[in-house]
Amino acid sequence: MTAPKSTRWEKPGDASVRAAQALKARFGDAVIETAVFRGEVTVLVQPARIVEICNFLKLDPDHSFEMLIDLTGIHFLDRDWEYELLYHLYSFRSNARLRVKTRLAETNRIATVTGVWRGADWQEREAFDLVGVVFDGHPDLRRILMPEDFEFHPLRRDFPLEGHGA
């Protein structure tokens, strides 16, 4: 027996799809692709315009993604890009979620979104600390979970699970 597929995640939320379409219409080539998986809408965008895009999503009254739920990074070793950054957004107005994703190749720097949501502060510090992405313009980019004198970024693929010894 194989468990029957769930029907809960078949359709993406209308508001999320509309937001993705609005982004494409407004930012054109800066929006590379839109993907839907398990009803979650992910928009892949150019890193150079991340702040503009976030500002639009937050401030545009049709969308108002007021809440930065989560910000995180992924490190890759074997891709055309080295880092992926994920911004999980939530809108109270439309009870919708949106995942904005951007990829960094040959650089580990991206502009901070602390000017858009103040809550990005600790989340960017965590992504810097664990993954090694540098957020330009961040007011206080220090390590947050690891000790200040730690030399590595433990969530990178090439960091061994056991660490580099005591």
């Binding site: 027996m1 995640w9 989560d70 979970l145």
Partner: protein
């Protein structure tokens, strides 16, 4: 002779002191670097990470099932709730629905956790402000809840009770009757604690208009859970994005008006009453049936069959050594944990472990608000503010 009142600020040289990481009112290993002017906090810089165990890194090296025990150690005051949140994210990735009985028991677990977590919050919050009596009352009830948790899962804190596709074991015989008797009695206890605190002059003066978190700030900082609701936003994932059958249950979302420590107290108190409402409905409507999905590729077969049948032996071997083969994709699933939105982001590249797992813990995000709330407050109020934000360092540091 007229006497003059001294200002609270000393007006002299600012003094920098450490509060924590080992301090009774920081509720775990939280260190606050305070710049003080007399009794007034000028600046508060939190230092966290003392309990960092690298859970997200570990997850990449464990199978999906092997990660469940780690979730016990996030918010260790509500392990059952974390267990549920994590497996629901994996189930979303696998695109499966669990049977109704499993969902109902999960709701029971989540609400039991909420009450248990709020009991600890209330007891320690009251102790922090000098009301020791309440602590003994809440811990007595909490102890009873831990007996129920032990009955249900075999252990008190590290429950690891859920499985991808359902639950580890069914309710033990007689559990619902015993639990129902407690649920019936419990609201009277809340009334007693309210009689001790809500109109108590000392309690009111220590909490009202203290640590006001404005709604705009709360949203800007990403604060969720009771702290957001106390600031006036009626937002609860059990209503906004119902999971595990919450949409069939009747309950209300308490919302504050001012966003001070007192509102956060009232909101959590009312949440316990609403949890009782939910538990009553769940106990009355507990469905019969299986507690696991019928899929041998995901769920471990019963042990007696493993010892007799070749096919089930193979299934067990594969699940234990390699786990199930998850589809390629990425999901985020969140539940309304006692502290707020607890979400798991899972990126799968196929295979039996996540490529990346991110824990969106409510305590981590909510704790950021302390920087703003501490500024200008008195040191003694800071104690009330920390307790009212209710951070759990296991979840902050992961």
């Amino acid at each position: 002779m007229a006497i003059t009142r001294e200002k609270l600020e000393a007006g002299g040289e600012a003094v920098t002191i450490n509060m924590g990481p080992s301090h009774p009112s920081t509720h775990g290993v939280l260190r606050l670097l305070l710049v003080l002017d007399g009794e007034v906090v000028r600046k508060c810089t939190p230092h966290i990470g003392y309990l960092h165990r690298g859970m997200e890194k570990l997850a990449e090296h464990k199978t999906y099932h092997q990660f469940i025990p780690y979730t016990d150690r996030l918010d260790y005051l509500a392990p059952l709730s974390n267990n549920c949140a994590y497996v629901m994210a994996v189930e979303k990735l696998l695109d499966i629905d669990v049977p109704p009985r499993a969902n109902a028991i999960r709701v029971l677990c989540c609400e039991l956790s909420r009450i248990s977590a709020h009991l600890l919050w209330l007891g320690t919050h009251a102790v922090d402000l000098g009301a020791l009596t309440v602590f003994f009352y809440t811990f007595r009830e909490r102890e009873i809840l831990y007996d129920f948790i032990e009955l249900l899962t075999g252990t008190r804190m590290t429950t690891s009770y859920t499985r991808v596709g359902g639950l580890a074991r069914d309710l033990p015989p007689g559990f619902l009757d015993q639990f129902q008797a407690w649920v019936k009695r419990f609201p009277k206890e809340i009334d007693e604690w309210e009689a001790l605190l809500t109109h108590n002059k000392i309690w009111v003066e220590r909490t009202r208009e203290v640590g006001i978190l404005k709604l705009d700030d709360a949203i800007d900082l990403g604060v969720t859970g009771p702290s957001l609701r106390a600031s006036g936003k009626e937002w609860d994932l059990r209503k906004a994005e119902p999971y595990a059958g919450y949409d069939d249950l009747d309950f209300e979302i308490p919302v504050g008006t001012v966003g001070d420590v007192y509102d956060r107290y009232l909101v959590r108190l009312e949440e316990m009453r609403q949890s009782v409402r939910i538990l009553n409905q769940i106990i009355a409507k507990m469905p019969d049936g299986p507690i696991l999905v019928d899929d041998p590729k995901i769920v471990l077969p019963p042990k007696e069959n493993v010892l007799r049948n070749m096919e089930e032996l193979i299934h067990q071997f594969i699940i234990v050594t390699e786990s199930f083969d998850a589809p390629v994709g990425e999901v985020y699933h969140a539940i309304e944990a006692p502290k707020g939105e607890l979400g798991f982001y899972i990126k799968s590249e196929g295979g039996g472990s996540p490529y990346r797992l991110k824990i969106r813990s409510p305590s981590f995000i909510n704790l950021q608000a302390i920087v703003k709330l501490a500024e200008g407050s008195m040191v003694s109020d800071l104690v009330a503010i920390i307790a009212s934000l209710d951070p759990v360092m296991g979840e902050v540091d992961r």
